[in-house]
Subunit: 176 residues, 2 copies
DNA sequence: CGGAGACCTGCGGATTTCGCAGCGTTGGCG
DNA sequence: CGCCAACGCTGCGAAATCCGCAGGTCTCCG
């Protein structure tokens, strides 16, 4: 059921114009206030019924459903379960700062391809790249940092910050 | 993939359902294989119906529902919408490394109380604390870093890494 | 003017969620 | 040893939700 791509009446290929998914961060498809309000609702509870959301934002159930589906298709948001990795058996995490020589973006792509890299961001400052690593144990972490990451062409040096304790983790942008 | 736990009705006693292990930092009992499988399902799609999850993990719809509710109540996981902040109107983000003198945890608590801090983690390495900041614009970011964070007692110095481009952001722990 | 696209509403029918009553297992305890 | 409370799972209607679809409005063009 997931893959039948609604689009009951918008199965138009040219429709893809600027809705090209996920990390085109320059500027996403601009969201209006209503979509923002819908996102806010779902940031509080990802399973809230469409009808309840509709009541909150002033739209019909069907309209909310269509908007949500579009936001998901466009990659503007995803509705997922998030956990503290420590409780799920990943005992070692680290933030790794990386100095790059040459093309930063290609290095970022290479790191993004690793499943252990949960989070990859290009930054200004003394690091060119910052990535978050999630591993099962020390050996795993060591291997990822010392063998895999440093083996990527363009990576000149790294600095690791092993997690001792996760104090806060929220997803409430917009809910302020 | 999902082990053989099907057990249409056999209550496999071998699996010591809940070991009272504590080795974690925040809260929450250890998870058995079935709960882990449920979380995996919800990491793929936070709105997946309980019946579908049940089919995948070998449990009835009602059992899945009860487990999910418990996981939510215990705070082991949350089901939420996540977005790239840039597409939602937060144009400035930064990772901030912090050097602390004195009690690190109390500083972490103070930072956690700020709504602009999305992510707060205590680390080993040259920083004592790493926090992720989400702001609306440069002025906002400047104020948070230079006035609010540095005003927290115990914060000795900070180093900022302004986000240029978010390359990857996933929540698929366990789905590997 | 007329058509295409975007977006909304309303409405049945299929699904899903929800609450509750059983039931088997486990563990504590007199 | 036997009783009982605590848990967790199942099954089952009833209620609520989801889903697809048809139809209406508005805007943007050629």
């Amino acid at each position: 059921m997931h893959s039948d791509v609604v689009a009951s009446r918008s199965a138009d290929p040219k429709d893809s114009r600027e809705s090209r998914s996920e990390s085109r961060n320059g500027a996403g498809p601009h969201l209006d206030a209503v979509s923002l309000a819908i996102i806010e609702q779902l940031q509080e509870d990802g399973r809230r019924p469409y009808a309840a959301i509709g009541k909150a934002v002033g739209l019909s159930e069907a309209a909310v459903r269509q908007r949500v589906q579009k936001l998901l298709d466009q990659g503007v948001m995803q509705i997922v379960a998030v956990t503290d990795p420590l409780t799920v058996g990943f005992r070692r995490q680290a933030m790794v700062g990386i100095h790059v020589e040459g093309d930063v973006e290609s290095v970022a792509d290479a790191l993004s391809a690793m499943s252990e890299c949960e989070y990859v961001v290009m930054t200004a400052g003394s690091f060119d790249l910052i990535v978050e690593i999630v591993c099962e144990d020390d050996d795993h972490l060591l291997e990822v940092i010392n063998r895999r990451i440093r083996a990527v062409p363009g990576v000149r040096s790294t600095e690791s910050f092993v997690y001792l304790k996760l104090k806060k983790q929220t997803y409430m942008w917009g809910t302020r």
